[in-house]
């Protein structure tokens, strides 16, 4: 599964130009769509490190929600 951006002026697989989507496109078709100027592969962004949850964070949320 990769992330693609629709770079041409035409919808690709129902996705509007300028939008990104994740899909498993068969390699031969992927190469075809990229060469034709319809798609580009969006490099996978590195996942952000999550901050460890602060002690008592859950409690505060509960209080806010109550």
């Amino acid at each position: 599964m990769k992330t693609y951006r629709v770079v041409g002026g035409r919808k690709v697989d129902e996705h509007e130009p300028g939008t990104t989507f994740r899909a498993a496109i068969e390699p031969r078709r992927e190469a075809r769509l990229i060469r034709a100027g319809h798609l580009e592969v969006v490099p996978n962004a590195k996942p952000k490190k999550r901050k460890p949850a602060e002690p008592g964070a859950h409690k505060r949320t509960t209080e806010e929600g109550s």
């Binding site: 041409g8 035409r10 919808k11 690709v12 078709r29 075809r32 769509l33 034709a36 100027g37 319809h38």
Partner: protein, 145 residues
């Protein structure tokens, strides 16, 4: 009685997943099947008529498109399909809306057996006649996008 007749205005033609509707002037979805003669001997005095069976399907999408060599347009999409002998999907629907019983999507896996990127005379709009023979049969879908 509900009248479902319509004038083609905002039909959708998608080739290899790419919406090329804005370059399609006309489109035809054709499904045919062989007429197989299954005639057998008849008893004397019985009129001899042809007995028929429906045989092999031979489906096709045909369309007239406006020639365009711009990046990301018709030629860039179609010529690789012809050159590389690829099998790809073609989808046609009458309205630019989700598939439904009253807006069926006709789709099939196709090949492009001939390609004439330039056709027309002086002063005419350059067009190309396209035929997409279907490998297998055209399917009708009435749900989904």
């Amino acid at each position: 009685m509900a009248d479902g007749t319509f004038i083609i205005e905002n039909g959708v033609v998608v080739i290899d997943g790419v919406d090329l509707s804005d370059h399609i002037q006309s489109c035809e979805v054709t499904m045919t099947q062989e007429d197989v003669d299954a005639t057998v001997m008849v008893a004397a005095g019985t009129p001899l008529g042809t007995i028929r069976r429906a045989g092999k399907r031979d489906d096709m999408f045909s369309m007239t498109a406006l020639s365009d060599f711009a990046a990301g347009s018709l030629h860039a999409t179609l010529f690789p399909l012809f050159r590389d002998k690829d099998v790809f999907t073609v989808e046609v629907r009458a309205f630019d809306e989700a598939a439904a019983v009253n807006n069926p999507v006709f789709e099939g896996s196709c090949i492009l057996t001939s390609y004439a990127p330039i056709s027309g005379g002086v002063g005419e709009l350059a067009t190309m006649d396209l035929e997409f023979p279907v490998s297998g049969v055209i399917a009708e879908r009435t749900t989904g996008t």
